[in-house]
Each structure stands twice: as C-alpha cells, then as structure tokens.
Amino acid sequence: METVETAGRVEVGARARADDDLRLLARIRRRDLKAFEALYRHYQPRLTRFLMTLLRRPHLVEEVLDDTLLVLWDRPDSFAGRSKLSTWLFTIAWRKAMKALRRQDEPIEDPFADSRMSPDRSPEQTAGDQRMRAALLEALAALSPEQRAVVDLCYFHEIGYREIAQIMDCPVDTVKTRMFHARRHLRRELAGEFGDWI
C-alpha cells in the first residue's frame, strides 16, 4: 500500500513502476498470461476500491473491473503511452462504470437516508473511531458518483487534479468544485458528533 512520501521518492517509485508496466505490456502483446496476471494483481485492488466507492454494488464492480482489465489482454495496443498506465486504466474504469450506472434501471439510492438521524444503533458500539467511520460511510453514500470518484481519487489514490480531470474527462475546475462540495457535505454530516475533530 502506498503511503504519503516525499515528492522525490514518489517520483522515483513512479518511474520504476512505469518501467515495470511497459515491460509487462510488451510481454502481454506476446500473449504471456503470467504478465497479464502480474498487472491484474497490481492494479486490481486499487481499481476495485475506486469502483466500490463509485458503484457500491459488488456484482457491478466485478463486471466493470474485469471488463476494464481485460482491455489490457484483449487490446494491449490501445494503450498509446500518452499517460501513465494507471491513469489510462482509471479512465477506462470510470467510463465503464458510468455506463453501467446508466444501464441500471433502478437509481442508486442512499439505503441509509432514513436511519441517518439515529447514529447510535447498537449499545455495544462504543469506540469513537468506529462511530466516525460509520458516519463517514453514510455521508459518502449520499454524495453523487462524480463526487465520490473525486474524493476517492484524491484522498485514497492521491492523484492530482489534472490527472483526475483526464480520468473523468472534465475541466480541472470541475474537479476542484466537486471536491469542494463533497468535503463540505462530509464536514456538515460529521459536524454534529465530531465537530471539534472535523
């Protein structure tokens, strides 16, 4: 798992990663299944997290995830190398996820809308950290898919706003605005119980 590091070390790590990716891609073009497995295993956890955050339905996540990573195997030449491989994969995942969402006949609703007002569901749950997590998950669930995507790409994947704009195919200012509104919503939802902290 990547952690926050100094910019220099991140850059060195990123370059080594890009090298690995290109080597593996070259092997994939020669139909080397092991190389595909290596890339799959490397990017699958990050993409799954992104898609889970976005779609919140395991059956959709699984479908979109496999469809996304299969592009590597089926059409490795469609990666032109104009961006990092990770950016390219996130872009495909985003497009396919939005398509999958539009295909769903029922709208994604917030399953906890009516229980939000009673955060203390069980008497045993005492740890403040768990209450915080629960509140945060509920607040996240109420965001739009676009806002959830920006929050996840920024906070978890630590991707810059220009790259996020590329992934989501929107202006950079839109990325900033989505993040701004998303954070405001999260803070507002947590303010009652965790006002001092947040």
Binding site: M52, R57, D66, L136, L137, R187, R188
Partner: protein, 226 residues
C-alpha cells in the same frame, strides 16, 4: 439555527456561525481563503502544481484559519483513506473467462467485497468481526469458528450468506427469508450473518431479489467447500 446557516445567504457576521465547521465559514467569505480551501486536499497530498502551491504557501503563512483548516483536512483525508473497503476480487475467476478449456476446474471464490450499505452497518457495530466472517467462507480461510456454529444442515451447508441491518426485527428477517423461499441453515455468526440454502437454480434470482430489500445489507453466494 439549523436551517438558515447552510443556505445561500451566508451572514457577513462570522460570529453567529461559530459552532459550524470552519470549511463552511471559509468558503463563503472571500477569495484568498476560498482559493486556498479549494486546493487544500491536493496540498495535503503533495499533488499541487508549482504555481498553486506557491499561492497556498503564501496564504497559509499569514492565515491562522486556513492553517487550522489544513490540519482538519489532513485528518479527514486520513480517515477517508483508511475506510475499510475490501478490494480482493478473484483473479481465478477471470482466468477461467480467458481460457475456459484450459483452466483448472476449481471452485470459484465467493465474493469478498462488501457493499457500501454493508460497510456502513458493520462499521457501526463490528468491523473486524465481519471482515473475519466473510473471510470465513472462503474455501482456504480459517473455518474452525464456522464449524462450531450450530448443527449441520439436513440438505447441504447453505449456499448463500445474508446479513440484515442491525436494527431489523426478527419477524422481518423471517419474512424476508420465507419470501425468498430459502431455508435458514446457520447463524447468526459472530458477525451477525446468516447462512441460507436455496435451490441452486434459483440462487441468482434470490440474491438479486434480496439485494433490493431495505433490511438486507449483504447477500452473497457461498460456494461449497471442495
């Protein structure tokens, strides 16, 4: 108090909103604070462009409010990034899709990804336990705890795992299980999940139906142990 504060007409007098989060106050106040506030998430992760970082640095050096906002921003970021979202979908399954003839006839792993509602529910109660329980149903996972739960079922060991919202009345659970035409095999597990058995041919439909139920936070297939 609640209603007006978040509306468009933000009062010029900041003191009246002192118990509201600082981000709200900053965002409606004026340009330098707002510009900084918009960039803080990427400032916190070291992902700002050179120019933007210079602007933020300059403002932070002379604004206590925004420095405090940066601290809160870092805490929020850490908390969101640390949320337990399981991310282990199966390579094995995809491999079969790639080469169905060549792939070994191995049983598929049950899905171990949790839905948002499931996460919401269990984070409130017992995060660690549920993660343990889900792992429990993977063929190679530790199964000792599972075996100790209740008597073995007459027909099969169950092929479906279900979890209700913590506040669901027992009557409602029975109703949901009954309507699905499922038989209760085991549970509640340590994490509060139940194991059901349905006719294999109907399982996909039953799962799809269960997932639409308001009281159900998780409904997953369980594959038989090899």
């Amino acid at each position: 108090m609640q209603g007006g504060i978040c509306g468009a007409n933000w009062p010029a007098n900041l003191a009246t909103g002192s118990e509201k989060p600082m981000a709200d106050i900053l965002s409606f106040r004026g340009d330098p604070h707002r510009a900084t506030e918009m960039l803080l998430p990427w400032y916190a992760s070291g992902q700002l462009d050179e120019d933007d970082r210079a602007v933020v640095d300059a403002h932070l050096s002379q604004c206590d409010l925004c420095r405090a906002a940066l601290e809160r921003e870092r805490r929020l970021k850490a908390q969101v990034a640390g949320l337990p979202v399981r991310a282990d979908l199966g390579w094995e399954k995809l491999q079969r899709r790639l080469a169905p003839d060549r792939a070994a006839r191995r049983l598929p792993l049950p899905r171990t990804v949790l839905t948002w509602p499931a996460l919401t529910a269990f984070a409130a109660a017992q995060a660690a336990l549920l993660l343990g329980a889900v792992t429990l149903f993977r063929p190679q996972g530790p199964q000792a705890a599972y075996r100790t739960l209740g008597a073995p079922a007459a027909r099969g060991n169950g092929n479906l795992l279900i979890m209700f919202r913590p506040d669901t009345p027992e009557q409602e659970m029975r109703l949901v299980i009954g309507r699905a035409g499922a038989r209760l095999v085991d549970g509640p597990t340590a994490a509060g999940a139940y194991v059901l058995d349905v006719a294999p041919a109907r399982r996909e439909n039953v799962l799809a139906d269960l997932r639409t139920r308001h009281s159900v936070v998780l409904a997953q297939p369980i594959e038989a142990a090899p």
